[in-house]
Symmetry: C2
């Protein structure tokens, strides 16, 4: 086995620490063995990167027993898995996960699983093959382990965010009437790559004119015209970590109704950021923005939640939504993205990312003071 | 409701025809109502595009009852859903799928579901909310409906393939020692966008030198050197349809061992294409290539299956693998991609796409006669 460089040693220590925290929690809950099938959790606890997020089929699972950890994956990934997850024994799943689990005497006392990331099909196969095993849904979400970031993780997220922000800046400087939405998306993603990102973290949104009233519009061949708003929502991915930014650009002269909703959305965002702090609930922060929009008469035009955590997944905990009544923890990284969407006319959404701290928050964007018009 | 243009009318007729086929099959099997949660199946049977494949959370489901069809999605997608799926009644899932299903008297006599695309978590919620409903795993895969393509679908796949092929050609003409793998990937994806693709269908693979021995390597900062092989595996996406192509490029002088495995892989591919026809099984076609590689002494260095279907999903049925003992149907579109991977040294993979016909197959690539070295 080749010697490890300092970065690899650090990476191993990080994984060892995460496994340690996980095992302590599993022991507390009385969990004998855990099967990890969520792709971000698999990466977080093992370092195993492989598995294209665009492919719908699974590319592996972790099995955590009290004294050993296994990575089960198919032949496409076994070589990479050996490199990326040196603390794990790699098992090749030639005939599927269930078969490999059944073929080895790997665990005793039962197997607990991740219900959000295990399909009825795979569970059915496992249950059929492991007739004497007691199965249980893990009573806590492994995603929660990922919510509080280390400084190293925050640095990666911020680096990915700076790249996305630079791309939006480049677009702002180039965009003119006559461009298509697709052209704008190409420019953004070219900057991502040029600046070292591995690619987009999600499908880039460029929504112009009435399309801007669709919170998740796909960029199309639509030509952007003078006097329209363009909602640009994009994020790059860097070493597995995502970023997420939204700006609403105006092309040409800005109409009074556009200016009005822009100002309301930006003020709502600033109110939410002023409210954001460890100890506050996601619902409280959401309410700070939502109340401002409602007070200005646009309450029914803000249909989504205010924000979400970002990390290895572009959407993860904690959620800034009316439904999240739990206090936020320091170290979480969240988006703050209010919007107003007027069907048939257009919309505005503005999104910053922030690190939750003990006494407030730290905006991670390079530009914390923007105002596009 | 606005009038429909001729393309929209065609699209509606296509969806109506698919729903008709689906309902006939559901009736045959005695299925009272079906819940469709697979994202490609959702799109295939409704036209609903929304839902970023890079986001892990679900963005909706279809409910097919004997006389009506519903599309359940959250507020991010309801406007788009109304446009894209005019044959469906759109229901906004404010508190999740289970809650919306339970809140309406939509179906009687039970609910059958897609086990491969329903998580244990969502099923648990649905079962909890719908206490008097009888649930059953659909006894056939809805994916099978997508295997045989219409001429319109083949045309889209081929258009996406020509774009990917043009990108590989552009790379072949530019690639020089000193380039990084990432640079090569950037070039490929720039061509995708310039030629009108919506983006890559999966994470572009550029694997050079010893990395080429990893069938699913991520492109990295590795510098490509004189005398190395570079496996380039990429595909663009166009109107939802994927393409998939692999070429192995040589940089500079080609060494005898490289030429040897290249020739074996290409010959194996041609043997498989000569064998490919409706009525043959996936296993027979796989064997045609595998036997050739084994006869030349490299059997243990070809660890994956020969190919897979391509359509709305980049990996779908039918599979060209030793496990597929079913006869192939005319109208399926498959990849034929044998490889030889020598750990520590490098590898070769070559991939064409072909339409299965009654009396053979039609290669869909523009270049059916390539030989890179």
């Amino acid at each position: 086995m080749p010697g490890l460089g300092p970065n690899e040693e650090q990476a191993e220590a990080l994984i060892a620490e995460r496994l340690n925290r996980l095992r302590m929690r599993l022991a507390e809950e009385g969990c004998p063995n855990a099967l990890i099938t969520g792709s971000e959790n698999r990466r977080y606890f093992s370092g195993f990167k492989a598995g294209d997020p665009m492919l719908t089929e699974s590319s592996g699972a972790l099995l955590i027993t009290p004294d050993k950890q296994y990575l089960l994956t198919d032949s496409r990934y076994t070589l990479a898995a050996g490199k990326e997850a040196p603390l794990f024994e790699v098992l090749e799943t030639q005939r599927g996960l269930a078969e490999t689990l059944a073929g080895k005497e790997l665990f005793k006392g039962g197997l607990w699983f991740e219900a959000p990331y295990l399909t009825m099909e795979v569970f059915g196969q496992i249950k059929y093959r492991l007739k004497n095993t007691v199965f249980k849904n893990l009573p806590f979400s492994l995603n929660r382990f990922r919510e509080v970031k280390t400084p190293g993780e925050v640095a990666l997220i911020q680096k990915a965010l700076f790249i996305a922000e630079a791309a939006v800046d480049a677009l702002r400087n180039s965009l003119e009437p006559g461009w298509t939405e697709e052209q704008a998306a190409i420019l953004l993603e070219r900057v991502f790559r040029e600046k070292g990102a591995s690619g987009p973290a999600f499908e880039t949104i460029v929504a112009s004119g009435p399309q801007a009233a669709l919170p998740h519009a796909e960029p199309g061949p639509r030509i952007i015209s003078e006097g329209e708003l363009v909602v640009v929502d994009c994020g790059s991915k860097l070493e597995g970590y995502a970023s997420d930014i939204t700006r609403t650009l105006a092309v040409g002269q800005v109409l009074p109704w556009q200016k009005e909703i822009y100002r309301i959305v930006r003020a709502a965002q600033l109110k939410a950021l002023a409210c954001l702090s460890a100890g506050k609930t996601g619902a409280q922060v959401d309410k700070a923005a939502r109340d401002h929009i409602a007070e200005n008469g646009y309450g029914r035009f803000f249909g989504h939640s205010l924000g979400h955590g970002v990390g290895l997944a572009v959407h993860e905990g904690p959620s800034l939504s009316p439904a999240n009544l739990e206090p936020l923890a320091a170290g979480a990284v969240v988006t703050v993205e209010p919007g107003i969407y007027l069907p048939g006319r257009g919309g505005v959404r503005l999104e910053q990312m922030a690190l939750v701290t003990e006494d407030g928050c730290r905006v991670l964007n390079a530009d914390d003071n923007f105002y596009d018009f």
